[in-house]
Symmetry: C2
Subunit: 109 residues, 2 copies
Amino acid sequence: MAEMDESTRAELAELRQSIDNIDAALVHLLAERFKATQRVGRLKAERGLPPSDPDRERVQIARLRALALDAQLDPAFAEKWFNFVVAEVIHHHEQIASTGSVSTQSAAQ
Amino acid sequence: MAEMDESTRAELAELRQSIDNIDAALVHLLAERFKATQRVGRLKAERGLPPSDPDRERVQIARLRALALDAQLDPAFAEKWFNFVVAEVIHHHEQIASTGSVSTQSAAQ
């Protein structure tokens, strides 16, 4: 690894502190998102509705791609990211439908 | 699909509006996160530093798992999510090192 001078080290540390702050916000927002989707999962399980909703997902993806473009985030990445999160949501919905709850501490992977 | 009564439909719509609000916030924060990591990527490329930094990533993962536990988010999911985002960051750093910039609009997948 190349040696870092003092100004590079200071600039990197400052950027990393911003990244850490953003990451803390992202984790807390993701936690809120899963609270909301778990409420959706319980509602769907109680009413016998299917765990996934492809029509809703298509609308969400189109909206997120537009928001991403506006924020100068790669829309293809926004879509991949959304699919990654939704896969976890569907997994939760299936758990709720079969067991009544989501085991948030058990995923030892 | 089972028929939805009016109160289920209203409750679902309300939860989905919260999810959509959270998603808009997440997309904008992700855009900011990539702005910061692209600055890191340019700095690393200028100074000849390697694109990835396993020591820094280990610290980030431990911190995010602790934040996730505190926010009642599955820490294993938080870690998977972080690795998913970091894979994109490393890809950007490599692009910056070889071409000088990140093509945010080109990923037609």
